[in-house]
């Protein structure tokens, strides 16, 4: 393409025209009707038009890109002024009048054009001096002004540089295009006004006035746009209508004009929006298009989802890295950029893409192909978890508007109305999760669990708050969350959200424990066993505590020890005061049963203040803290079957709060402490167990009334007993293992110590 230098006015004009013709918002104008009409409107012989098309290279490309279009327009202007069509003349002809197009149809544009023209002619060509054709023969009112060649074509509207204003500033663009009237009120605050001869534009004034309402309305949503220009331009005084025409050509915008080129995001987006506005006259769309540029519209998302299906039919499944690599390599982006996109979009760093991650990656690829620079961090709207991470607040630099035009999906400015709601939902989620600040890539980190603790608190306190957002949450994120939940327990982010989602789905009461369970970092192998046993015992707990949500058992199976302690406490505190109440049958036995486990130890510890007690107490205090101080230790103890669990879980709960080595140590310590205690208490335990067991049969005998209830309680107690016994044996086994491990570690340490003193 021959390089083309355009004057400011021309730039604006051409840009407007391009927007006008770019009905598909693809930034390249196929030889569709609009373009042809336009060229026809130039009133040039068809062979000239053909020649122009050839010259500008459109025939080569098969369509009119922006540059081709501009060149074509310039050639048209050249032809219209009677000069021979030469490539060299593109740049050499100075003071070329703007190409004239006579269109009989679009009044609005025509009016605009006329307005533009007036303004342009008057203000934009001050220096030109030449009788720029400017006065598009056409507008009746313009005739007054147009001294030269104002072949008034009252019937015809002239498409004049609507575009210029648009190009100049984003704000102007939209309003300008808005069919009919808009520009005037729009920010074309245009200094130009002054130039514009106020005279003779009474008609325009009316037009302006009419459009004023439209535009102001239009403008307002756009003020939200990143461009401050909008707001900066107060509605140009109606009298000075030309104002809108006078795009600040002579003002700074002019300097920006040269900067505008197809790759410029702003222009693209504005043009796109403008065109869309022109065609669709949907102010809403335009307003929404000025939101987060990285938002994915519904069409885009649908397209992404379809593409996802081609690779992975299960929308909740994952796309393996290799498949994703092949897919994205097809986009012909350099590997380095693809690598960067992958880094941004693979949120949980699992080497696979969920639907959300895939959409984000695809979106980034699309944006990159459109000339957007890749952000350093994943934009908020592309966050798959909808959780506001610490660095997610950054909005990508690239311009204010999103360029969706290049997306394979015809992303018309049709931002679905649901998007804003989604976005609203997301910020809500984000706010609620702000303090979670999940650090996604570090599975080992225990801090997330602390965050999850907080989250749990949040959830408990604000579950209602979260609930409303859940329905609003996009399904894909939900799906991805749930998908992520099983496979990637290790990632806090996924877990958190998954946990939360599940909370929404299941029950608010179960939220915190589930979240905790979900959130806990990958425990060492022994833990899951514990959790299973615990979960069953938790079931027992639930059976004792009738009101508990039925959904809990399922997540509890996934639960990790840390999750357990909080639950009993909150259940005690909140939903199941019933726990205590319902544990009618067991209260008597419960204190006896668990006591064998740890509580006696605790009491002993508390009494003796042995160092071993401290961790226990600490843990319990932690548990208490975690559970918002729900229930004293006693209450925990009296929670029955949860005693041993709580202690163990308390130990484990302290784990998540500390770096990985610590929980092990603490567990070791506590278990060490427990072990001797357990051994000591073994006989006591047996005795204790025997006591309740014996007590159980005796009780029904003694009571002898509610046989059913008693038998049920007996059954439950027996189950609890077996579970506890199993748990006990498992714990002891774990203890042994850990001790062995510790010993071996110490041995290693000893061995390596001499070396470390080099």
């Amino acid at each position: 393409m021959e390089s083309l230098t355009l004057s400011d006015v021309e730039q604006k004009y051409y840009s407007d025209l391009f927007i006008y013709c770019d009905t598909d918002n693809t930034k390249k104008v196929a030889s569709n009707g609009r373009v042809l009409d336009l060229f026809r409107a130039a009133q040039l012989p068809s062979e000239v038009v053909l020649q122009i098309t050839e010259l500008c290279g459109a025939t080569r490309l098969g369509h009119f890109g922006r540059s081709q279009f501009y060149i074509a327009l310039k050639l048209i202007a050249i032809a219209q002024s009677g000069l021979p069509l030469r490539v060299e003349s593109l740049n050499s002809v100075k003071d070329l009048p703007l190409p004239r197009f006579v269109v009989g149809k679009n009044e609005a544009e025509a009016r605009h054009a006329a307005l533009y023209q007036d303004a342009d002619s008057q203000g934009l060509y001050p220096a030109a001096g030449t009788a720029l054709i400017p006065r598009p023969p056409g507008r009746g009112h313009q005739n007054k002004k147009a001294p030269p060649s104002s072949t008034s074509l009252p019937a015809h509207e002239v498409i004049q540089p609507l575009a210029p204003s648009i190009e100049t500033q984003p704000e102007t663009t939209s309003p300008v295009i808005s069919p009919h009237q808009s520009p005037p009120t729009s920010p074309h605050s245009w200094r130009k006004h002054k130039r514009q001869h106020s005279g003779g534009n009474t008609d325009r004034q009316q037009v302006v006035a009419a459009s004023g309402a439209v535009w102001t309305q239009f403008r307002e949503p756009q003020t939200g746009d990143g461009d401050g220009m909008w707001s900066s331009h107060s509605p140009p005084p109606l009298p000075s209508q030309e104002s809108w025409v006078s795009f600040t050509a002579d003002t700074p915008p002019s300097s920006t004009l040269p900067a505008m080129h197809p790759s410029s995001v702003q222009v693209d987006t504005t043009i796109r929006t403008v065109a869309s506005a022109t065609t669709t006259n949907e102010i809403q769309r335009q307003s929404s298009s000025y939101d987060d540029p990285w938002k994915i519209t519904d069409e885009q998302r649908q397209y992404y989802i379809n593409q996802f299906k081609t690779i992975q039919p299960d929308l909740t499944g994952l796309i393996p890295g290799s498949a994703a690599k092949e897919f994205f390599t097809k986009s012909k982006l350099p590997i380095l950029e693809l690598s960067h996109i992958w880094e941004l979009s693979d949120f949980d760093k699992d080497g696979a893409l969920t639907l959300d991650e895939f959409c984000a990656a695809f979106h980034l690829v699309v944006a990159r192909k459109n000339g957007y620079d890749l952000p350093e961090k994943l934009p908020e709207s592309l966050m798959p978890k909808l959780i506001d991470l610490d660095d997610s607040a950054e909005v990508p630099e690239p311009a204010a508007e999103v360029v969706y035009s290049a997306s394979p999906v015809e992303v018309t400015p049709n931002k679905s109305p649901s998007m804003p709601s989604l976005n609203q939902a997301w910020p809500e989620m984000n706010q609620s999760n702000e303090d979670t600040a999940i650090v996604h890539p570090v599975p080992i980190r225990m801090t997330p669990s602390k965050i999850h603790m907080q989250e749990m608190e949040l959830k408990r306190t604000g579950s209602d708050h979260n609930h409303p957002t859940s329905p609003l949450l996009a399904k894909p994120p939900e799906l991805s969350e749930e998908t992520k939940l099983p496979p990637t327990m290790k990632f806090v982010a996924a877990n958190t959200v998954g946990g939360k989602r599940q909370d929404f789905i299941f029950s608010p009461s179960g939220a915190s424990p589930e979240a905790l369970k979900v959130v806990a970092p990958p425990p060492p192998p022994p833990r899951p066993q514990q959790s299973h046993s615990r979960s069953s015992s938790l079931d027992m707990n639930r059976t004792f505590a009738a009101p508990s949500a039925p959904g809990q058992p399922q997540p509890s199976t996934i639960a990790f020890p840390p999750a357990v302690p909080p639950r009993p406490l909150p259940t005690q505190g909140v939903p199941a005061g019933g726990t205590v109440l319902t544990a009618t049958t067991s209260p008597q036995q419960i204190p006896q049963q668990p006591n064998f486990a740890d509580f006696s130890q605790f009491q002993a510890f508390a009494a003796s203040e042995q160092p071993s007690s401290l961790p226990e107490i600490d843990k319990h205090s932690e548990v208490e803290k975690i559970s918002e101080g729900a229930g004293p230790l006693r209450a925990v103890k009296s929670d029955g079957p949860a005693d041993e669990r709580t202690t163990a879980t308390a130990k484990c709960s302290s784990g998540p709060l500390a770096p990985p080595p610590k929980p092990v140590r603490r567990r070791l310590k506590s278990e060490d402490e427990l072990r001797p205690e357990d051994e000591q208490l073994g006989p006591q335990k047996a005795g204790a167990i025997a006591a309740p067991l014996t007590a159980q049969p005796s009780i029904p005998r003694s009571i002898g009334k509610d046989k059913k209830a008693i038998q049920a309680s007996i059954r439950r107690n027996k189950e609890t007993n077996t579970v506890l016994a199993r748990l006990n044996s498992e714990l002891q086994q774990q203890l042994k293992d850990l001790l062995e491990e510790r010993i071996s570690l110490e041995v290693q340490l000893e061995q390596l110590r001499p070396f470390s003193h080099l």
Partner: protein, 139 residues
């Protein structure tokens, strides 16, 4: 104060090496290269069956008057070497370990990227960020 951080592949060629630019980078490259011998020695010596992180962390490899070199080897024989300036208050062992852990994590993330071919120099921005953080924070 980490003045130099290097990631060396199994075949003992560098995947990533970055130094505090103010100093003579060549000197650090040489140091890292020579430290590989010590790494090999340690790896072969510490041939325990228990493959826990303790084994991965090799500790102080080689102290000189100006700096100390710490090593860390992954299970896939990828070596991380951190050169620390001795003039700074000597970093505790735990801090070095945490640095290695962070390095290992971000290295894993780089590996997870399907667009990364093992054996290529590491060009990940995230990895660079982590390394910069470690080099800046410690010095």
């Amino acid at each position: 104060m980490a003045v130099c951080i290097a990631v060396i592949a199994k075949e003992n060629y560098p995947l990533y090496i970055r130094s505090v630019p103010s100093q003579n980078e060549l000197k650090f490259h040489y140091t890292v290269h020579t430290s590989l011998d010590v790494v090999e020695e340690k790896v072969s010596a510490v041939g325990k069956s228990i493959g826990d992180q303790r084994e991965l962390y090799l500790g102080l490899l080689y102290p000189t008057e100006d700096y100390k070199v710490y090593g860390y080897v992954t299970n896939s024989k990828v070596k991380f070497v951190i050169v620390v300036d001795s003039s700074n208050t000597s970093l505790r062992d735990n801090e070095i370990r945490s640095m290695f852990r962070k390095l290992h994590n971000s290295f894993t993330d780089v590996m997870c990227n399907p667009f990364y071919n093992p054996g290529d120099p590491i060009q990940s921005k995230a990895f660079n960020g982590i390394v910069s953080g470690m080099m800046v924070q410690t010095g």
